[in-house]
């Protein structure tokens, strides 16, 4: 899967729909066999797709030969983590926070503020850093006149959000001292 073909919501919808049809059934069968519920199977599969999407976005999925087996492998690992944790409603971010324990807790706290204060910037930054879209795609998607304009806009947004982070981090540090 070429990650350049996942630049719009519609393309991603088709991508996820195909994966649901291809791999949800074996994942659900596995979760059922392990004594889980349909809701747990759905939750595990959603997190599996998030992880797989991130692999594809980083162009790390090129060596995956059997997509279905790979997705089932991720799902099994997530189920075992879920089972060991004994927590029914643990989100992917919670699991991730455990794996990356040195991450500062402020990231979650400031997220809501960032979404409301600079949604357009966050959308642009998401396209560049999370979806890992090439500058040419970002230029077209956000209607910039050139790649240079898109690059400048990206760094301006990063600067704007970083300042918000700085202000919030300082106030958070002040609060806990």
């Amino acid at each position: 899967m070429d990650h350049n073909t996942l630049s719009t919501v519609e393309l991603r919808e088709a991508f996820f729909m195909a994966l649901y049809k291809k791999a949800f059934s074996p994942v659900a069968r596995y979760v059922a066999r392990m004594g889980g519920s349909l809701e747990e199977a759905q939750d595990i599969f959603q997190d599996t797709l998030v992880i797989y999407y991130e692999k594809v976005a980083l162009a790390q999925a090129e060596i995956i030969v059997n997509e279905k087996a790979y997705l089932l492998g991720i799902a099994k690992k997530l189920w075992l983590q879920h089972y060991k944790a004994g927590c029914k409603n643990e989100s992917l971010n919670d699991r991730d926070a455990e794996i990356i324990s040195d991450e500062q807790p402020a990231a979650g706290k400031i997220l809501h503020y960032l979404q409301t204060a600079g949604k357009k910037c966050m959308e642009l930054l998401k396209a560049c850093y999370y979806d890992n879209l090439p500058v040419s795609d970002v230029t077209a998607l956000f209607g910039y006149t050139s790649k240079h304009s898109a690059t400048v806009a990206k760094y301006k947004c990063l600067e704007k959000v970083r300042e918000t982070v700085k202000q919030n981090s300082l106030s958070y540090a002040d609060f806990i001292e």
Binding site: S25, A28, R29, N93, I110, L158, E159
Partner: protein, 90 residues
């Protein structure tokens, strides 16, 4: 680009491991000497984490919408029923 944006790009290159090793060492040395630079690097890293969380929330919402669409479309009812049957208690 103006100087401050070039500085942001340099920190980005460092955080994303796109910076040549020699330049990375110089930046790390500067971080020890310059508290403002160290704060900028830490905040930019935190910004990347916030963007990732934002991205994950968005992509998960898109996935949930696909799941709801699949469950609602008549042509997929057989498939949905097969999966539901896996969880029926015998």
């Amino acid at each position: 680009m103006r100087t401050s944006l070039n500085n942001i790009k340099a920190i980005d290159d460092y955080l994303l491991r796109c910076m040549p090793p020699g330049d990375a060492l110089v930046l790390e040395a500067n971080m020890l000497l310059n508290d403002d630079l160290a704060t900028d690097v830490a905040c930019q890293q935190l910004t990347h984490q916030a963007i990732r969380q934002f991205g994950r929330q968005n992509i998960k919402a898109e996935i949930m919408a696909v799941q709801q669409k699949l469950a609602a479309e008549p042509q997929h009812q057989g498939y949905i029923q097969c999966i539901a049957n896996l969880f029926k208690k015998h």
